[in-house]
């Protein structure tokens, strides 16, 4: 094991090569998923597109499923990074403003890579088992719920668990349908309108 990092996090050539291989595989998988769909995403195809041998694919991913899982994970990470950043100060905001922010964040999350998001949402249940991506993910649910707890005084509802379920489901579905099924890309106006309507819907409900 020739590993002589002199200072700090200096990766060895070997580590970098591995990392590059892994990345290109995940990337290739995502690209094929988006452009050709789940059924065309054979492991041989993925390796080919990644410019890597099929053997290397299996060196890093024990199965096709694990590759798809990695794509899901990566996408999820990207989304949650956006979400966390965006919601950092939501706790201090009044209801109306906060809800608008939640809706806006949902829209943004969907716009990170809408096509990938769609494929993952639609075709990935098949991969099952690793129930990621569950209705905008548990973390989202938590964030929302936590907000509601802090904003209890502004709410006209008691059961925060139920309210969170209703709101998160609603926001997710609205955004999902709007972004993914209507036309190709939302104009800014449409996006604004979407946020307005979604926020009004949810806010009204929460105020009771």
């Amino acid at each position: 094991m020739p590993r002589k990092p002199l200072i700090g996090p200096r990766k060895t050539a070997t580590q970098e090569r591995s990392r590059a291989t892994v990345d290109s595989l995940v990337e290739a998988t995502a690209r094929i998923l988006v452009k050709e769909g789940f059924d065309k995403a054979s492991t041989n195809r993925i390796a080919e597109v990644a410019g890597v041998s099929i053997g290397s694919l299996y060196q890093y991913f024990p199965s096709k499923e694990s590759l798809v899982a990695a794509v899901v994970e990566r996408h999820q990470q990207e989304i949650m990074q956006t979400v966390r950043a965006e919601l950092a100060k939501v706790q201090e905001e009044p209801l109306e403003q906060a809800i608008r922010r939640f809706v806006a964040v949902a829209v943004q999350a969907h716009r990170l890579d809408p096509k990938l998001h769609r494929v993952l949402a639609e075709q990935i249940p098949r991969v099952g088992k690793l129930e990621k991506l569950e209705t905008f993910s548990r973390e989202n649910f938590s964030l929302f719920r936590t907000y509601l707890e802090g904003a209890r005084h502004e709410l006209g509802v008691d059961d925060l668990e139920l309210a969170s379920f209703v709101c998160v489901t609603t926001i997710e579905a609205l955004t999902h349908n709007a972004v993914l099924h209507h036309g190709k890309a939302l104009t800014n106006d449409q996006m604004q309108m979407l946020i307005d309507e979604g926020a009004r819907l949810v806010t009204g409900y929460l105020k009771g």
Copy 2:
């Protein structure tokens, strides 16, 4: 000597046999989809379960896709029958009552055959092309929109197209998540609560 039946819907023996074969194939497909999942639903398996030879299967359905499409169609028909019956007199009802009915109908639709509904919802994008089942279906959207037009005086919103989109999406998602992802079966209480919340959410929104 053409053999068109003289009176009424009296099918020839042959026609009846065909019909039975087709039915058993669709039924077998649905059963396998539900019990064993999309991946186990090979055409050979379907033919076997239907008690029909693989040759006959291809006599009636040109492809696996067309078989799945038939299942979707059938499920849709059943749902829409319920929906139409239930919404027959909705036009005359006041907003609150009508919306409750819409939500209740959505729940009922999901409860017709929840497992089949779920499989179809999850796996069918794969069959793609024939975008049936699209967000509670166009017909649903129409029915809702038509209702809104008649109830314009009670509404606090102008853009009925937009409002319909928001409401139908919301109702569908809420129901879908509640029925398909939470536990196995909803208790009556839970169902009532779901209808209450859904109706309140949408009604509030529509009143503006």
Copy 3:
């Protein structure tokens, strides 16, 4: 199912076709095993040599293992047919004569298809699980033991189970080594000598 056998065991065309396919697969497997060894006997190769598609192979044999098992079975059947025929009247024979017959039968069994016998003996433990071919097979052991019981008065040994083990093992090994490892084919003289020696060895032992 168009099955109209008019008289007696007249197989339908279909049945005959299936049968032919199965036969050619087993035959091809045996041939490859003999000519190229276990490792070259890939399912695709077998199908090719059988003049059958790989799909058909899997229609009749669920796995590669099952194919090899069929070869073993077939070979075993052939051997046991010879053995049974040859040993039909052994019960009435005096010890010396009977033992000679046992040895002779073992030699014959090995000469039915020596190369196949060798491959099966050497390479098939791998297929394990289906422990056929076990030390000249249980049936052989039984036949021998049964004979000993009837000939007890001529024997100088008490423990017939033990004696059978010793004799059957010995006869089998002697024959096996002689037929399979020495040169290509045994001359008649060599065979005679083998029988003589084997019989003398075993007879001496049994007489005590």
Copy 4:
């Protein structure tokens, strides 16, 4: 500056390291063969178990086959060491005693590492080409034959080549079957009985 050790078998550090690597590879191969079977013994697995990189494995062994061959060789060496030691003074012994010793030695050889012996016996024909391990090995045959020559006066047989073949084959087979196929381990009584019977069988034969 060539570095040949001046005195005695003093290996350089490098040579020792090489030796250690080679040993651990052979040992790992044997262990995997025994514990997991031939099919699990991939070169990568072997290297891993040996705590050596796959690259190093190929530095010392040109192929998987050569690795297995080394295991066979080593096992053979160990057996022959036992055998030679045990048979050192057999030449002076009378027939009965000598034969008992031969049988006992065969049993001991099998008990050195029965599981390894079995795997090698069963799977190694596959590795073919290097027909080691052939029926208790040529050396055994020689030893036995040499004994017979010295003991000619006690024998009732003429053809010592033939007699040796018969005896060695018989002893090997008896031992092999008894040790490897009957239950897990032989009790001392069973072993004694095995030696008794084997010796009686062979002695009787040799005395004519």
